[in-house]
């Protein structure tokens, strides 16, 4: 069993969602907690970059994956790919890219480096933390 959180870079909103899932941070966490998460904001402009975050209380592996801004296409495609090997029931794909500030995605895509300040993204993620929490809660009831 595995749960895969998807966002444009794989190191911003998906990292926050995955850490919420395994219980490393919670609703009371501050902006600096988000900024000090391991791997936070390591933009490498390479979609397909995935990270193993940890195992949750039901022994399910939690991953993040960078998919650029085509999370919907990748979700369909990945489930169809896993269907070829009869594994589609063990994997959940969760799109959390809507919680990122839109401008940051375009900045990083066109300028090929981290132009948008990582602190600003962290502030936006802190504002959206409650919504991310409800999104994560659909997949893990025990947080």
């Amino acid at each position: 069993m595995a749960i895969i959180y998807m966002c444009p870079t794989g190191t911003h909103s998906s990292l926050v969602a995955a850490n919420l899932h395994i219980g490393k941070i919670d609703l009371t966490s501050s902006v600096s907690d988000i900024l000090h998460l391991p791997y936070y904001g390591q933009v490498n402009n390479k979609p397909g970059f995935f990270l193993f975050i940890g195992k949750d209380n039901q022994e399910r592996a939690v991953y993040t994956l960078g998919v650029y801004h085509e999370a919907e296409i990748i979700k369909r495609s990945a489930l169809d790919l896993l269907k070829l090997f009869n594994k589609e029931r063990d994997f959940f794909f969760v799109d959390v890219s809507k919680f990122m500030p839109k401008v940051s995605v375009w900045c990083n895509a066109f300028l090929k480096k981290e132009m948008y300040p990582r602190e600003k993204i962290a502030v936006t993620l802190k504002e959206n933390l409650k919504e991310i929490y409800y999104e994560v809660k659909k997949y893990n009831n025990y947080i």
Binding site: K46, E70, I73, I74, K75, S77, L81, K87
Partner: protein
Amino acid sequence: MHIIYHCFGGSHSSVTSACIHAGLLKESKVPSAQDLLALPYYDKQVAQDHGYIRFIGHDEYGNSVYITSKHGLGKNYEDIMRSIASIADIPNKDLVFVDTMPYVNWLMVIGGYLSRRLGLVRIGRPIVILGTQISFHKFCHIVKIIKTKYAKDNRQWP
């Protein structure tokens, strides 16, 4: 072995290449408009269908041939799918991803945009068919490369 052809919309170049691979189109002559329109999924997919992996057929070595669409992901599509395959413990040698976008000419781009995105089938379809006929031998070429490079590995000797 699963061989997946992918292009922007999954309705012209990938379908043509996959049908050549699966034996639905003959390489010896350039297909007519009726031949092309009789192919499965040719000039039929719309935005809601994008992303799904569609089965086309088996080739002579027993491999399965599929098509899919990837929008603007370009080369990154293969990287993302291989990441997911590695998470799911799927061996890399079972999958072959073929990008058919380098063989698409500008007639196919314009015709495909008119026919699929804007819905002007009557104007776009003749343009995209003409473009496919012009690029047909290039698609034959990529299929030949894939067959000699990967597909023959699956051949079972008597």
